[in-house]
């Protein structure tokens, strides 16, 4: 239990998707103009990461890993399908996003209208594919660990985008040098936020 909690906290602060690995930067820069929209996108990312990482974990464990097909037939023990993982993961992500979109539309129209256009955008957000690939690389032992990693990364991404959106709302009133306006200053602020987040590196989990 403690292990699971550690992974959760670690993936929010220490291994933050944005500040430590620069994942999901495209939508991070494009959608962070106001706090309201970035909250919507952030929640959608938590949602999708929390679903795709465990699903990809199961697939990796039972289909793709070397020797994973043993449960089908003991003769398949040395089959290694891991070279297929990119294409399988991206297909799962694209179809999961579609599925989540349909389910949310059916059962919670209010949430659907607030997530709106963000759900389909998420299929090409590198944070989502990155979550699955990191899960594969770090070899989490149980489904619970993989799930808490997925959710934690989502929360970390959420914090990052809401933070930058709040700063960008304020910076509109400052006198930034003209060539640096917009994109340039956002990069530099993100760098400074990353330096602040590095203080969490000292935490031993």
């Amino acid at each position: 239990m403690q292990e699971i909690f550690n992974i959760f906290v670690k993936s929010i602060f220490v291994d933050n998707m944005v500040f430590a690995y620069f994942l999901g930067m495209c939508s991070y820069l494009a959608v962070s103009k106001t706090v309201q929209t970035s909250v919507g996108l952030g929640i959608a990312v938590i949602f999708v990461l929390g679903i795709t990482v465990p699903v990809d974990y199961l697939l990796n464990d039972y289909v793709l890993k070397p020797g994973a097909l043993v449960w089908l037939d003991s003769g398949l023990a040395d089959v290694d399908l891991s070279f297929l993982s990119f294409i399988v993961f991206i297909a799962i992500i694209a179809s999961m996003v579609q599925l989540v979109e349909m389910i949310v539309e059916k059962f919670s129209p209010a949430l659907y209208s607030s997530l709106g256009i963000f759900l389909p955008l998420i299929a090409v957000n590198c944070a989502i594919l990155g979550g699955s690939l990191f899960m594969q690389e770090r070899e989490y032992q149980t489904l619970a660990q993989a799930t808490s990693f997925g959710l934690g990364s989502g929360v970390g991404w959420f914090l990052a985008i809401v933070g930058i959106a709040a700063i960008r709302e304020k910076i509109r009133y400052s006198n930034v040098p003209a060539p640096l306006r917009g994109l340039g200053i956002t990069f530099i602020i993100t760098g400074l936020m990353g330096i602040a987040f590095m203080s969490f590196l000292g935490i031993k989990l």
């Binding site: 500040f19 430590a20 690995y21 620069f22 994942l23 999901g24 930067m25 495209c26 820069l29 494009a30 070279f83 297929l84 993982s85 990119f86 294409i87 993961f89 991206i90 297909a91 694209a94 299929a123 090409v124 957000n125 590198c126 989502i128 594919l129 990155g130 690939l133 990191f134 690389e137 910076i171 509109r172 930034v176 040098p177 003209a178 060539p179 640096l180 306006r181 917009g182 994109l183 340039g184 200053i185 956002t186 990069f187 530099i188 993100t190 760098g191 400074l192 936020m193 990353g194 330096i195 590095m198």
Partner: protein
């Protein structure tokens, strides 16, 4: 289509040349179009992985552009995203296997970022914006141009970070030993992830102050 229109354009007509060169500066995918930042920053602590990444992206953008441009009339618009993703994913698997076979150590350093070329928005963006509506040859040039524009920024960032962070370039020492004796120190901060962002911020600053038409509102 009338036959008069099909008159053959020379391979490197001014229009085609522009396709190749404009993404390198005025229409740079990273600093102007803001695409594909994710992988650009994570692999640039050293020059060598940055170079390998840049070459991989040039190959994938160029080939994906060519393939999609050949298929463009046969792809039903509703499922084009899936088709594009499958083409890109297949190419990235090829690149990944080649890297594992020939430069295993770099491939280990790049870790998940080779896979993340799939969701690199430059590639999707070029397919969607260019290859879906243009012939094969211009698409190839556009792909190579955008890949090079991306690679250029990667190499600049990698150069600065490795030179000031480790005092080496491509793994060779370039700062003379005498400099360390009189008190020069490597700036360990350059190796850390946030500095990549700040360096790109500065590149944008320099580029825009030279090209005032790129200024943005806050």
């Amino acid at each position: 289509m009338s036959t008069a229109k099909q008159e053959k354009e020379p391979l490197f007509s001014p229009k085609n040349k522009k396709l190749l060169t404009s993404p390198i500066n005025l229409n740079n995918p990273i600093t102007v179009q803001v695409l594909g930042i994710c992988s650009a920053l994570a692999v640039t602590a050293k020059l060598k992985p940055a170079f390998v990444m840049a070459v991989s992206v040039v190959v994938v953008t160029a080939l994906a552009n060519v393939i999609i441009s050949m298929l463009r009339n046969g792809i039903p618009p509703r499922i084009r995203i899936i088709v594009q993703l499958v083409v890109i994913a297949a190419l990235v698997i090829l690149v990944d296997q080649v890297l594992k076979a020939f430069v295993y150590d770099v491939s280990k350093q790049l870790s998940v970022f080779v896979g993340l070329i799939i969701t690199n928005c430059i590639i999707m963006g070029r397919l969607e914006a260019f290859a879906m509506g243009n012939k094969v040859w211009p698409s190839l040039l556009d792909g190579i141009g955008n890949g090079l524009g991306y690679g250029l920024i990667l190499l600049i960032v990698g150069f600065v970070r490795e030179l000031f962070g480790s005092g080496t370039l491509w793994g060779y020492n370039v700062i003379p030993a005498g400099a360390f004796e009189i008190g020069y120190m490597n700036n360990g901060f350059m190796i850390l992830p946030p500095m990549a962002l700040i360096i790109v911020g500065i590149i944008i600053w320099i580029q825009r102050s030279k090209n005032p038409e790129l200024f943005e509102e806050n």
